[in-house]
């Protein structure tokens, strides 16, 4: 791919088509990544011309679904950044464990690996029975995969290592049954997970939570959209609740910054509620 299959003007045309025809708003997305994803799909599907590619997205609902699935990044793993999950296990969730009921929002959950990771920790802390994890994504196709709770066997060695580094002490393999090339995770783990579509760009707050996780989603948004999404999280988070972002993401410089206090050394902020605390 020496020259991109798709140029900047064509990216803008597609973005405007998606909004007009389907109500999917990608106008606030960072362009470099989006352009790479679209060019990749264009080459992968061997489109004959841009006009044909554009027409197909515009008029073919099934292809539109594929398009959205392919241009959004759905790479994730279980217990990614083990130190982060160790902090959830050792600090955040025990604190929330004193509440009668724990509501967690995992925004941009993709194929669900993090949702099952959190469920495992909650189970080990004896908190799963009084918890509810809302795992949302804009993309229905990944949510279907997430609900199956089946991940590639080939990943299990890595996930098991991550799990141990995150403070897990059980035999990780007891959480799934091997089924040829897939590991099927225990039904119990997903009983407290609700998978549902939610678009951070256009959908509103739908509940109040004590913990919101949204890791490596904001990086795909331009600054203004990032700030709007942080406002949405702020509206959806109880006082003294926690907000967890990705390694390279921050609430600094946003409109909500002065109501949040960072856990030193971690990308986790606590809503302290008052200005200038």
């Amino acid at each position: 791919m020496e020259l991109s299959a798709i140029n900047d003007e064509q990216v803008e045309m597609l973005i405007s088509d998606l909004l007009e025809q389907y109500g999917y708003d990608f106008t606030g997305y960072s362009r470099a990544s989006l352009k790479r994803r679209i060019s990749r799909l264009y080459s992968l599907d061997k489109a004959l011309s841009f006009a044909e590619f554009r027409y197909r997205i515009y008029s073919d609902q099934a292809y539109f679904k594929r398009f959205v699935e392919q241009i959004t990044v759905n790479v994730t793993e279980m217990f990614r950044d083990p130190v982060f999950f160790k902090t959830l296990r050792d600090v955040v969730l025990p604190k929330l464990g004193t509440y009668p009921f724990i509501r967690i929002w995992l925004a941009g959950c993709s194929t669900g690996e993090e949702a099952y990771s959190i469920s495992i920790i909650l189970k080990e802390l004896n908190l799963l029975h009084k918890s509810l994890i809302y795992a949302t994504d804009l993309n229905p196709a990944v949510l279907e995969k997430a609900a199956h709770g089946m991940f590639a066997m080939s990943q299990m060695k890595q996930y098991s290592e991550n799990y141990i580094l995150s403070g897990g002490t059980q035999d990780f393999s007891t959480y799934y049954t091997a089924n040829y090339s897939l590991a099927k995770f225990d039904e119990e783990l997903k009983q407290k997970i609700i998978f549902s579509t939610h678009n951070l760009v256009s959908d509103h707050s739908f509940n109040e939570f004590q913990l919101i996780l949204c890791r490596n989603v904001l990086i795909y948004f331009e600054r203004e959209l990032q700030h709007n999404v942080l406002d949405l999280f702020d509206e959806s988070l109880e006082d003294l609740g926690y907000l967890a972002l990705g390694t390279k993401e921050t609430v600094d410089f946003s409109r909500i910054a002065n109501r949040y206090k960072r856990l030193p050394g971690h990308k986790i902020w606590r809503k302290v509620g008052h200005e200038n605390m």
């Binding site: 791919m1 900047d8 960072s30 362009r31 790479r36 490596n216 990086i219 331009e222 390279k248």
Partner: protein, 193 residues
């Protein structure tokens, strides 16, 4: 005549010593940014920028997402993200699939930078053991920028620059001792192709 607006260095196995030497010899009033993308182990993010900073008086920092790209600054790609360049000369990060078994992938940075800086981009590929960066250099050439490699004969691991030499029309092949001077001469002046 054209000026250099960004200098990007990609490296893998065997590139650290070269980077340390080059940075110690690069002038401290560079008129463009140096952007470094090296394959490294996930974690311990501040170690590499700190090590590089110890060799130069230029500001060395790990990239923050959406950060504006400034001249006279050395930027280091964070581990485990692809580093992309936006048209408005800011950085963005991407956690999509590994490319050439690598994240960050040198190709991703070279390719997005090529479309932004076009003729005002110079990309240098150092020592390494896989072919990451080769497709990126092709893009750099296609958009009119300059493709430069470390002389494979001087590289600890010759494969990466050798692959580039094989597949890309390379503008300059530099020995380790000539890299800093090459960069210094690009600074603050127009140069002939």
């Amino acid at each position: 005549m054209k000026t250099c607006e960004a200098f990007i260095i990609g490296g893998s196995a065997g590139s650290l010593e070269v980077l340390l030497r080059v940075l110690s010899e690069v002038r401290s009033d560079l008129s463009f940014p140096i952007i470094i993308v090296v394959h490294r182990k996930h974690g311990a993010d501040s170690l590499l920028p700190n090590l590089l900073a110890s060799r130069t008086s230029l500001i060395v920092k790990e990239v923050d997402e959406k950060e504006k790209i400034n001249a006279g600054t050395v930027y280091v790609a964070p581990s485990d993200y692809h580093l992309l360049i936006e048209q408005d000369r800011t950085f963005s990060l991407d956690y999509s699939e590994k490319i050439n078994y690598s994240r960050p992938a040198i190709d991703a940075t070279f390719q997005t930078a090529a479309e932004v800086y076009k003729k005002k981009l110079v990309c240098l590929l150092l020592s390494g053991s896989n072919a990451d960066g080769v497709n990126g250099l092709k893009s750099v050439k296609a958009w009119g920028g300059q493709a430069v490699i470390q002389d494979p004969a001087s590289a600890q691991v010759a494969y990466m620059p050798a692959q580039a030499k094989l597949h890309v029309e390379i503008d300059r092949i530099l020995g380790i001792e000539d890299i800093a001077e090459f960069i210094n001469l690009l600074s603050n002046q127009s140069y002939h192709e």
